[in-house]
Symmetry: C2
Subunit: 480 residues, 2 copies
């Protein structure tokens, strides 16, 4: 039997049993106690070290629990055979290099014509805060537990009634799945659809959705787009069984899909049980002329449309709540395969959002923002129309940006770079091109966002873009 | 040119332009205006209806936007060829049948020996509420925007330092990915690993993880488990490249993986670039004897361990925050493939959690709960040990449950059913068996949870189980 010479420090931060534990660990690791060797009994150790027996027992049982020691009945504690054991303290302390770079890298631009950014200045923070304060986790037990996998029923009810009223979506609260963002909902959807899907997307589209599909290992077919949206002939030729579209306001082109194309698309979807249309209704809340274009989902009689929307643009990107409306067949599958998933949105966040919707604050906020964005939209339109270098404006009257085709001898990249040097961040059409699609040889086109810009910033920004365009033309003329 | 006989109602809820829009829509849908037909000019209509021209223009442009009409330059408005158009209002109003059933179906049991449920009575709601109120979205711009895809840096920092201190995990804040629950993190992980992975799980394991892997279409190998955990020989034979384990406290068996098996597992993982260990450290916060068993991740020098943990048990299931620690190679992949995903946790929720951790409330709460759960654990142990029908207790000293092997002639199913009829919900071992694994012929074993039960409830519940066990034995004896 091994004798152990442990120096115990009664004034140490470490408990006595920990000191014993550490000592024995180290002795085993250093090979000073060999496998199979018997340790002193707890009684002997306690007496020897003049400590209580239970302290020694605690240390021993920890060592047993971690597999350093084993007990043999009526015999005592023995060192286990831990071949290849090495001391694992203090190695690999070097920092893992921070290779990750922030997505939202600040370019140092003062004026950002982003088609994604929203204005926070007008958000009803007080109402939001008040509602948030009114939710007391302690009062209601439900806020403590995970709840319905699809999201809370009251929130789903409020969403389905809003979607029916504002977007012509036909669904019950039961079909609504609330989730932490569009990408999560697409991931969830991929679990319902399974592998082996092929997705058709318009050549210019919402690239983050394309990347999400790629991450699911779904092949993507880049389909031509004309003035009515996805070209049907090309969709049929693509062999895809999922069509990802934004019929109310295509991103980035701003195309509104006319009735005829919608019907053709539904007809395509009806041709096979495997065909589905994903309708991403990303910014349809904001339409500045006439009434909103109703959703494609509302026309679908056969359950081929999966409708996806978000509160990121209508409330705030940080809210992290999106919703998906599933057709019946997929709902069934959801229940069987994914019904056990816990919801991805905190219960209190769900309740906060529910109250915001239920008391009418959401629609009040939307109406207010619609007016603010409309003013900016009209102002930007007015200015751009006066500029000689703006050949054409399209995709206007909705959302948070418009497309502007530019007359310039610069490439899109050059123009963006040049404007960036002057503190103006521009967003080009080519950034939204699917990698599998060939680059357009057409003139430079910008997606001019106005969501987070005040009128004077819009004017200043456009004046700077004018200089960028003209300067090159001038130098080009001189060179000729 | 078609003449239109529209009756306009100036006192209607509907705007005038909407009435025009609706009328023309209906006329087209009913075939009363044919494709190609020219509509009256806006000027003519305005004069005829005695309304402003801009009202008519609004109606027409809406119809153009939706593809009912088209304009021909210098010529006017024409009806589009919408073959197959039908009226889509009012059809399919029947409710989609609510096939979805609630997961948390209440069984009407008074005493629930759940190994999952936590006690809410002791949660520091006031602190939580106070911190929640202290976060003002308006004050700090960042709470409005989506933020870092991995989660906010301060929260990740607090998590990594907690994990290092309490669990021996070695990581930087940069390696921590915060996400809306374990299942979401596994989904995310599947995007980093790609398809074609094969997962080894212990025969008795956390079934929801198995179902999540199934949803990813990963084949699952059910591997034997012995008193040290996953049987290495069987793991090698399984051909799996991912081993999903819970080394600190296996669910449901409660096995603590000894050092030797841990080293063997790491050795297995080191054998191939494709091999990874997923360490689910689900309830390691609660250990009632000795100090916590350090994580496997902390021993891993080669970056083969993916560590996953959650605040569901340590705070509340409704909080929806889990964390994953990625090894370097996968972090690189995360950055490239998934770095553009928005975080799945609301920013304010992240901040709330950060403050809860940073001001020490989290660890105070943990210590408090540990004492409460320890008392219940010891109390349950004491009672069960006195029962003649309890053959063996194992998997104790940690988590929220212990395993009790029962001497009975009932099957597991019968015992659970019988107790259920008496208001006691029991959880059996077989519920946690992988479907691919053969059913054990051993005696009935229960996973006896004590997380949400007061001492008197534990005593009452055990007395009822005793009656269930004895009754059958008695009737069986009579029948003999």
């Amino acid at each position: 039997m091994k004798e152990l010479l442990i120096d115990l420090y009664h004034d140490s931060d470490k408990a006595l049993y920990e000191q014993i534990y550490d000592y024995i660990c180290k002795e085993i690791a250093d090979g000073k106690i060999s496998p199979g060797e018997k340790l002193p009994s707890t009684r002997f150790m306690a007496k020897n070290l003049q400590i209580s027996r239970s302290t020694v027992e605690l240390a021993y049982s920890q060592l047993v629990a971690e597999g350093y020691l084993e007990t043999k009945p009526c015999s005592g504690y023995f060192v286990c055979d831990i071949s290849g054991l090495y001391r694992f303290q203090g190695i690999r302390q070097e920092e893992v290099k921070e290779s990750y770079k922030k997505k939202e890298e600040q370019t140092g631009c003062r004026i950002i014509f982003s088609p994604f950014q929203v204005d926070r200045t007008y958000f009803p923070f007080r109402v939001w805060q008040k509602l948030n304060r009114s939710i007391n986790m302690e009062d209601e037990e439900k806020f403590f537990f995970a709840g319905d996998s699809r999201g809370d029923e009251n929130l789903r009810g409020a969403i389905s009634s809003y979607l029916h009223r504002a977007r012509g979506v036909r669904c019950t609260a039961g079909q609504v799945i609330v989730g932490a963002g569009n990408e999560y909902l697409l991931l969830l959807l991929s679990q319902l659809l399974g592998s082996g899907q092929k997705v058709a997307m318009e050549k210019y589209t919402y690239i983050q959705a394309a990347r999400t599909f790629s991450n699911m290992e779904y092949p993507i077919a880049a389909v031509d787009i004309d003035e009515a949206g996805m070209v049907m002939q090309k969709l049929y030729e693509s062999g895809a069984n999922i069509a990802y579209v934004m019929p109310s306001h295509q991103f980035p082109l701003g195309t509104v899909m006319p009735m005829k194309r919608r019907l053709e698309l539904l007809q395509w979807a009806a041709a096979s049980e495997r065909n589905y249309i994903i309708e991403d209704d990303h910014d349809s809340e904001f339409r500045y002329k006439g009434k909103p274009i109703p959703s494609l989902q509302g026309m679908d009689m056969l359950g081929r449309v999966i409708y996806i929307g978000t509160f990121s643009k209508s409330i705030a990107p940080s809210v992290r709540v999106s919703y998906m409306v599933l057709p019946e067949a997929l709902l069934e599958k959801y229940y069987h395969n994914c019904g056990f998933y816990a919801t991805t949105v905190p219960r209190t966040q769900q309740e906060l959002l529910y109250r915001f919707l239920a008391e009418g604050s959401f629609e009040r906020h939307l109406n207010r923002m619609k007016n603010i964005y409309r003013t900016r939209h009209d102002y930007m339109m007015g200015l751009l129309k006066q500029e000689a270098w703006v050949k054409r404006i399209y995709g206007e009257n909705a959302g948070l940006h418009m497309m502007a085709e530019i007359e310039t001898q610069l490439t899109e990249e050059e123009l963006i770079k040049r404007a960036g040097e002057r503190g103006v961040k521009l967003f080009g059409l080519q950034e939204n091109r699917l990698l599998t699609a060939e680059k357009s040889r057409e003139s430079v086109t910008l997606a001019m966002g106005f969501g987070c810009l005040k009128e004077d910033e819009i004017a200043e920004g456009i004046a700077i873009v004018r200089k960028c365009v003209e300067q090159k033309c001038a130098s080009h003329t001189l060179a000729d």
